[in-house]
């Protein structure tokens, strides 16, 4: 081999080495990015105000559930649970302890059920006035809810018990906005920031009920409520939804463990009701799988003035009215042990006016 060809071979080798190095650098950068992201989201980044609030709410209710002896009523839903239902009103009527265990519509039902199952015992009753959006919620969306980063950061035991898509969702639940918000929340908490939400929306009592959300506090939401056009999922979306699948699975588990499940309707605007077939689909989720279903004569619909800030949140006065009706309905259902629909007391005409 002459000098020229030797030089050419050498140059080619140098180029190949440079290419491999360059490619390796890209791969290393990608891998480092993933590792760094996973480490930061799992070990460092937190959302002490937004997710922390939800986690505290969830844990407080679970603690109460664990401390409650004897047959109890547990209300599981989204935030409509604590805002529109009042265990403090329902429990005396029902004659059994009650825990208002809904937290937020974004919390995955699989996570919620997983946390509550160990605390449910034969004789307990679970009332599920799920928000309409909880039925059709997609599996991918469920995997990215606030509970994903809560589990990744604070509850890896529950996360490990969930399917692998939930692990991936938990690891990759933080986008740029989430990361920025997390850093801001951590800085605010470190700076002893006073969370203004309690003063703006009310607070939570020992039963888990949201209280103090008076019409006076909701004045700034009146215009928003007047303009709100609720979205109602279709009957097909409810039937085929991933949330529905999770609820049916929970009903099956409850039947096997002597826990009684009663479905219900969420609250909503009287002037924008869910279609009849959608309500029938919700009813079927429960009745067709051996659970009871409580359907108030007014189908939990109220005038817009009864609401606090969203169609799922009654204000405090109407929360009590609705809870009286729910309590009466549950008494009817639980008294004779057979599902009876439409028997509950309707709110008085004066109240619904």
């Amino acid at each position: 081999m002459d000098d020229t060809s030797q030089g050419s071979v050498q140059r080619r080798k140098v180029t190949e080495v440079a290419c491999v190095t360059s490619l390796r650098r890209v791969v290393i950068a990608c891998a480092a990015s993933l590792l760094l992201y996973a480490a930061v989201t799992a070990l460092v980044l937190d959302h002490p105000l937004s997710n922390g609030f939800l986690r505290n709410q969830l844990d407080a209710r679970l603690d109460r559930g664990a401390a409650t002896a004897g047959p109890k009523l547990v209300i599981l839903a989204g935030s409509n649970g604590p805002y529109s239902h009042r265990c403090a009103t329902i429990a005396p009527t029902l004659g059994r302890p009650c825990i208002n265990a809904g937290v937020a519509v974004g919390i995955g039902l699989d996570y919620l059920f997983m946390r509550w199952k160990p605390l449910l015992h034969p004789g307990d009753t679970v009332y599920l006035p799920m928000e309409e959006a909880q039925y059709p919620r997609a599996r991918a969306e469920t995997a990215l809810g606030p509970d994903a980063s809560i589990m990744l950061r604070h509850d890896r035991i529950t996360l490990a018990a969930l399917p692998p898509d939930r692990w991936a969702g938990a690891v990759f639940s933080t986008d740029l906005r989430g990361a920025m918000l997390g850093a801001i929340e951590m800085a605010l908490v470190a700076g002893a920031f006073h969370d203004p939400r309690a003063a703006a929306t009310g607070e939570t009592n020992a039963w888990g009920d949201h209280i103090g959300h008076t019409p006076g506090l909701s004045e700034s939401s009146v215009a928003v409520l007047a303009a709100t056009r609720p979205h109602h999922p279709t009957a097909a979306q409810i039937r085929d939804g991933y949330g529905t699948t999770l609820i049916i699975g929970f009903i099956g588990w409850a039947r096997g463990h002597g826990v009684r499940v009663v479905g219900g309707l969420p609250t909503g605007f009287i002037d924008s009701p869910a279609p009849d077939d959608a309500i029938a689909a919700i009813r079927a989720v429960y009745v067709a799988h051996g659970a009871d279903f409580l359907e108030l004569p007014n189908r939990s619909r109220y005038p817009r003035l009864a609401f606090f800030d969203t169609p799922e949140h009654l204000n405090e006065a109407w929360q009590i009215i609705h809870s009286v009706a729910v309590a009466d309905g549950l008494v009817e259902i639980l008294r004779d042990g057979v599902p009876r629909r439409g028997l509950a007391m309707a709110p008085t005409p004066a109240a619904t006016r």
């Binding site: 890209v26 480092a32 937004s50 906005r177 920025m180």
Partner: protein, 481 residues
């Protein structure tokens, strides 16, 4: 098919690359180009297969015209070459006009007439301009003779087919004619991959984040001062990251296949005057407009008044090219006016002031561009001027009581982010990050390989998050144009 979709990244791209290099190795350049053309037509047909014949027909007709014009020009027959050129440009513009501007013109001529509601074929603005360049370059003899396969591959080449860059035939066709075009080179493949991934991060991580903020702000019927400015600042970042991200992806994809595209964005918001902005923003469109509209109109050769008219006409056309609506014409008119003012200005401002003024002019001009109509643009401008009130979250006013002197404290701003208690600091922090990137950092193509590696480390995981876990994929803004 979107560059930032799973179907493209996990399916189309690996197959297109593998076929290109494999056929290049086994059958040579022609087979590789044939594969590339087929892949590009498949890519185009993914949205609507019925439009593939339109693209193919346009390519065939323009090739035939271009060859005819070139032959006449080479034989010294200038008059027939010019006639064919005029016929070719007219046909291309007629096609574009029919699909893109028929309803707009009809509405001007007969406001009460029912709209034709013609479906706008994807990328027609881009492939029409691309082919007009080919015809003009043929008449000017500024391109090499080429076969139909190379020409068709040049026009349909999927990295630039949908939203540019608008590349000159004489720049790309010689690259496609190179015998070793389909030889796998690890260096260019890696380089292209890196640029593509950085563009992907710009789009998925940055553009879509700011897009969420601007969508909320522009939905406000009467945004207050902070909501309006935040929406416009967010949109300015969205459109930059979206389009420059797309351009980087296109440049990266082409680079993987041994084709070099020209730079399309060079830190435009760092420009010190509006003329410099147009030398940095959508550079290939600017070059096209300069070489094929402004200079043929007379450019600056016939006095200041004529120059001003030429600038205004060019920029009005630029606005109209972006969309058949008055708000785009207004945007183009504003930029034309800025350019005229700039050419007449004799004041030398200090760099920071010049840059700030340029930036404010560009940002304000985005308002009609983004707003849903002229009324919405006016509402946004009123908000930016403080005429719809100045409101700030109560928690901010409590923390900084001085702000209470001129701002009304409110529980939350309904058109800022997700209208949550912490939306104000959240959006503020994101905007600071975004503007820091565009104002203080060099653009992707100026970065060293090592720095690009760091940038990839910062953004890749977020890209994966957005690509596989985000609830929806937002299309590129320039797909509409």
């Amino acid at each position: 098919m979107l560059f930032h979709s799973q179907a493209f990244i996990l399916g189309f791209l690996p197959l297109a690359l593998a076929g290109f290099f494999l056929l290049g190795r086994l059958g040579g350049r022609a087979w590789a180009l044939a594969w590339l053309l087929a892949a590009s037509l498949f890519f185009y047909g993914w949205w609507n297969p019925r439009l593939v014949p339109l693209l193919a027909g346009s390519i065939a007709a323009n090739y035939w015209l271009g060859q005819r014009i070139l032959r006449h020009a080479q034989s010294g027959h200038a008059t027939p070459a010019r006639r064919w050129l005029i016929a070719g440009i007219t046909c291309n513009l007629a096609l574009l006009g029919w699909f893109k501007y028929a309803d707009f013109l009809l509405h001007i001529a007969a406001p009460n007439a029912p709209l034709l509601s013609i479906f706008l074929p994807l990328a027609i603005s881009f492939f029409t301009f691309q082919q007009i360049m080919f015809l003009v370059d043929s008449a000017r003899q500024q391109r090499a003779d080429t076969d139909v396969l190379t020409y068709a591959t040049f026009v349909a080449f999927f990295p630039h087919l949908i939203a540019g860059p608008i590349v000159r035939p004489r720049y790309i066709i010689p690259q496609l004619l190179a015998p070793d075009i389909a030889v796998l080179r690890a260096a260019t493949l890696t380089d292209g991959l890196l640029i593509f991934l950085l563009g992907l991060a710009k789009k998925l991580v940055l553009a879509d984040t700011f897009g969420g903020f601007s969508d909320t702000g522009f939905a406000a019927p009467a945004p207050t001062f902070v909501e309006a400015w935040y929406a416009v600042l967010a949109y300015s970042l969205q459109i930059y990251f979206d389009f420059s991200g797309y351009s980087d992806m296109a440049i990266g994809l082409a680079r993987m296949m041994n084709v070099r595209f020209p730079l399309n964005f060079a830190s435009p918001y760092q420009a010190r005057n509006i003329a410099e902005f147009w030398r940095r923003w959508h550079i290939t469109l600017g070059v096209f407009l300069r070489d094929y509209v402004y200079i043929p109109l007379g450019g600056s050769r016939s006095g200041e008044t004529r120059r001003a008219v030429n600038l205004l006409a060019t920029m009005l056309l630029c606005g109209l090219w972006h969309g058949a609506a008055w708000r785009f014409v207004l945007w183009g008119g504003l930029h034309g006016t800025f350019l005229v003012l700039h050419t007449r200005s004799r004041v030398a401002l200090p760099r920071p002031i010049a840059q700030a003024l340029t930036l404010i002019a560009v940002v304000v001009a985005w308002v009609p561009f983004r707003a849903d109509g002229l009324d919405a643009a006016l509402a946004m401008l009123r908000g930016m001027a403080g005429l719809s009130g100045i409101a700030l979250p109560k928690m901010i006013v409590q923390a900084l009581p001085l702000l209470g002197e001129f701002a009304t404290p409110v529980p939350l701003l309904p058109y800022l982010g997700d209208a949550r208690t912490l939306s104000f600091p959240e959006v503020s922090a994101c905007l600071v990050l975004g503007w820091f990137i565009v104002l203080a950092l060099p653009h992707v193509h100026e970065l060293s390989e090592r720095t690009r590696g760091w940038a990839l480390t910062a953004g890749f995981a977020f890209s994966v998050q957005a690509l596989f876990f985000a609830p929806h994929v937002a299309p590129f803004l320039y797909f509409r144009f």
